[in-house]
Amino acid sequence: MLLFSQSFFSLRDNSSKEWNLKNTIDYLQKIAEDNELDFEGEIVLHLSVLKSIGEKKYDDAFKGQLAILQNIVKYLQSDSENWMVPLANTVCVDLRYLLNAYDKYDSTNKKLKMEKYNDFQKKYIDIMMMYFRICSNDIRAPARQSKRWTIMFIVNQMLKVYHKIKKFHLTTGLTKTIFMCPDKNTFPIAHAVTFYYYTGCKEIFEGKFNDARENLTIAFEGCHRHSIKNKTLILKKLIPLNMLHGIMPSKHLLNKYNLDIFKDLTEYIKMGNVKKFRECIDVNEVYYMKCGIYLLLQKLINLVYRNLFKKFFLIAKNHIIPVETITTILKKFDDPETDFDKAQSLLVNMIYRGTLRGYLSHAHKKVVLSKKDPFPTGKQVFDKATKSINEIGHN
């Protein structure tokens, strides 16, 4: 019966859901009675939702579906067991899809639609918060009957809504409650993957790269190996984060997940070709922006400079390099208008940030590199001492 109700109310995985004669209310009422179900009101609502979808009236469909969820949440509140949770989850995912469908397909006047969409969104969050409270307060019930196991799922649904409208600051409270859970490791792995993915995205947006890297790694490792699409999504964010630590993706990895977009970029970073690196970002800026990694890639520039100088150093085999030479190199591989002062200020900054070990001599106009390990690895650069300036910048 449990499975029946869950799949019956689903709007997605049911091919017989066309609005036709077979699905008359009488027929369904009969099914309900046969199964001793008391979902009459919801069944009627469900059918009208299907009808509205058929007619492409997504606002009506949303309202109907919202009423279903409201009723189910009300039942949940008085129910001491958790058998209805899968049903509620199905309904709220569908509700979110309807919200998106409304945004995408509804073609009424723009301003009115915007207002309505915001209103729907608010209603969605309200009902989800209610559902969340019921489940998270259910601490007395024995583990088998507790509704607590689903709170991560509920939070994920809300995260998806907030991420769509890019209001990341509103998600802080939600993610905090999950992180504070003493039993946060007992949530289903599928829920955890989504949760850590969205948390990671948010942390990239806020510039907390180390936390983001940790959380996205958890998500990637937990992700099922057949869900290539999700793994690719995670990798799009995780690869640049790892690059910041000096870990470059292998060709094999990029081929496996079809991430051609990083191929050239990786090459240019390895080569230290600043000019091409910049061009590559400029050409794909829209794509990178959509992924939310544009600024992250811009932070890699110091690493590219480091690689360039390292390449030169290995060729020159000399610890003392005239700044004039560096200027010439920069003219070729970065901005053709680089002058002495710019090259010098670049070197100063690299020494300050720890990407280069050594010192500059103004009198001799030379840079003197450290005898031991003049080019620390990305990981060393990103250690605690320099973390703050490297993560956020000077402020």
Binding site: G207, M289, I301, D341, S345, Y359, L360, I392, G393
Partner: protein
Amino acid sequence: MLPVKGICMEMCPKEETIMRKSKKLVHQLECDPHKMVKCFSRSAAGNLLSKPHILRPPSVLKNTISYLLNEILTITNIPFSIIYDFIDDRLNSIKQDATIQELSNQEWMAILPPIIRFHAFAAYKCYEYDVNTFDPFLNLKHFHESIFKIVRIFLEDSDESTDELCFEMVSLLIVTNLGDYNVLQQALPFITKKSTLIKKAVLLSLSIMNGNFGHLFEIYNTLPAIHQCVISVQLPMLRRNILKSMCMGFNCKNNYFAISILTKILLHNKVQETIKECQHYRLTVNGDKVELSKSLFNNEVDEVKQIRIILIVVTSEKRDQIQC
């Protein structure tokens, strides 16, 4: 519920004029009784603000702004701090009127830019004032409230006619917060617009974020005066960071650095200012050279309160930049 529409066609409602005259609350800049301007008053219990006869419609609001910025701001025989306080208060009341009437995006686009420019200019003009006469934090707060609002409006609906304004505002937001990752995140959707001004601002901010100050001087000189104003205010903090990183980079015995070059790098106007700055951070100045050393650099002291003098004559600049 429909928003209220104002019907007060004066800069100041009759009610308030009478009240303020009787209570002797007329500001010294409001000598002419016909040119009084509505005060900002907080919404509180018993203080109903949404009465049509005390609200000014958008056209009156626009005229009030041009009166404030073209006639009051140019007064020179009264201390600027008093002028600032007056205009700041009256602009607040304009924003309040506009908010209560729920103006359309187009109307906001006409009202906000002069207000934003005024705060940007004030940040520069009042930089050296004592914190009791001018609060830079509060000024920037007002600035950000307005500029974030207008940036949001540009995200919602903008067309080619407003592009020019959009470029100016977005780039102004970026350069006011040089190196700020979060502000850059917010400005990102605009980089696809292919505006050189935004591009320059983003490039500068990214370089500062990555600690590369080589572009600062060059880009600074190509920006409009109002942008220079807000960068100027950040210079003390930037200079400190530049000097600190240079001390790390040139850390070696008997390594002297020419002050004339340092003056250019630090965007100072005069050599004396550079010497003062170096001495402030306890660096040894020796003739026309300074010893940059990691151990000497004093990290504990505050920044030197010195900004770059913008060479445009202030009055004419106001005419160019702040006029609506």
